[in-house]
Symmetry: C2
Subunit: 219 residues, 2 copies
């Protein structure tokens, strides 16, 4: 019955074009029972680059960023994960985490031990396949991120971000955090982002209202 409900939900979400595979969709009961929830305060660290990889996390509420610190000591944001997204999936096959995970807001994460997960993959091919599929999508998403970071023009970079984050109506973008967070997420200084948004608004390309940006032209 639960299966029916889930697949129904997946179906509906799929139709809406906002379907996202969540952990609950494919993780066996056994693994889910082994999960441990943990609360994080804003800016609290979940794990660090180089620390022992003990398992994977799912963000239940709030937002958690994956980041690295470059040679000049500046932090580079690789990704910001929200509810339903997973962290450190790729670390299942590596001894150490390969980036830092820090809470962007107060957040709750669910921890799935590596051992249980790998055992589940051995036992249940469907589970393993779902995981593989998720990784495959991750690879595509990351390629898109590389594309984005390669854009030097702030205006183009913001446009790229907006295009990738419009809602179902193809013109509304709901921002998930502060503009400052967004700036870090797309690899700009916050000043550059403010100026760019202001310029886009003046030119009539977008309109802003608190946490929402509306494109004047549908993409």
């Amino acid at each position: 019955m639960i299966g029916d409900i889930l697949s129904n939900q997946s179906y509906v979400l799929g139709l809406l074009g906002i379907f996202q595979m969540t952990v609950e969709d494919w993780l066996p009961v056994k693994v889910r029972r082994a999960a441990i929830d943990r609360e994080l305060k804003t800016n609290e660290t979940l794990f660090r680059l180089g620390s022992k990889a003990v398992g994977m996390y799912e963000v239940i509420s709030g937002r958690v960023r994956l980041c690295r610190v470059d040679s000049t000591g500046r932090e580079i944001v690789l990704h910001v994960a929200g509810p339903g997204e997973t962290l450190a999936e790729a670390s299942l096959y590596s001894a150490e985490y390969h980036c830092d995970a820090v809470a962007n807001t107060d957040a709750t994460v669910r921890f799935f031990p590596k051992r249980e997960l790998l055992a589940a993959f051995e036992m249940n091919p469907k589970t393993a396949q779902a995981f593989t599929k998720m990784l495959a999508h991750q690879v595509m998403r990351l390629r898109t991120s590389i594309e984005q970071r390669n854009i030097r023009s702030a205006r183009e970079r913001v446009r790229h971000f907006l295009a990738l984050n419009v809602g179902p109506d193809s013109r509304t973008v709901r921002l998930r955090g502060t503009l400052k967070d967004l700036a870090a997420e797309i690899g700009l200084t916050h000043e550059a982002l403010y100026r760019t948004l202001a310029a886009l608004e003046v030119s009539g390309e977008i309109r802003r209202k608190d946490g929402i940006i509306v494109l004047s032209k549908r993409i």
Copy 2:
């Protein structure tokens, strides 16, 4: 016997620290038999973004770049694959390719049909696991690429590239193509790369000789 040779080779390469999982290491005979080799001329296209994803490729010889074309018509290089590397692994679970693949040099690629691969994953969990592992490593590598593209300073970007590509002696980098190709690969104009390399050489940080760059200090 062939297996013995291969695993032996893998063992040796592993010891040398230059081990890289190749398709032959984990792909079942059945799939390998279904493979088709194809020759590519320099700048010949293997597949395009949006075209139907029919399978995965392995580069046998030469180099093939994965790239996208940005809104200004400029080409962005996402990755350059050399012998032993695979292309479009992630597209196994998607209907279309999500970037272009173009030969950087005359090249030979081996094609593995999607159907055969997916069937092999169903049949043989070990195979599926090896594939998943590869994707996981890919994810980590891509994160590193994002980190690199986020660096705006040409000097730092080149340093980052060199650091990631030194050989076993921790100071020699063998370039795989032209400097122009490298510039595209790391997201710089070729002029910027030339100047940066020249500056690094003047400052004594590196020495150059045709296709080789030697760092003065071990990393």
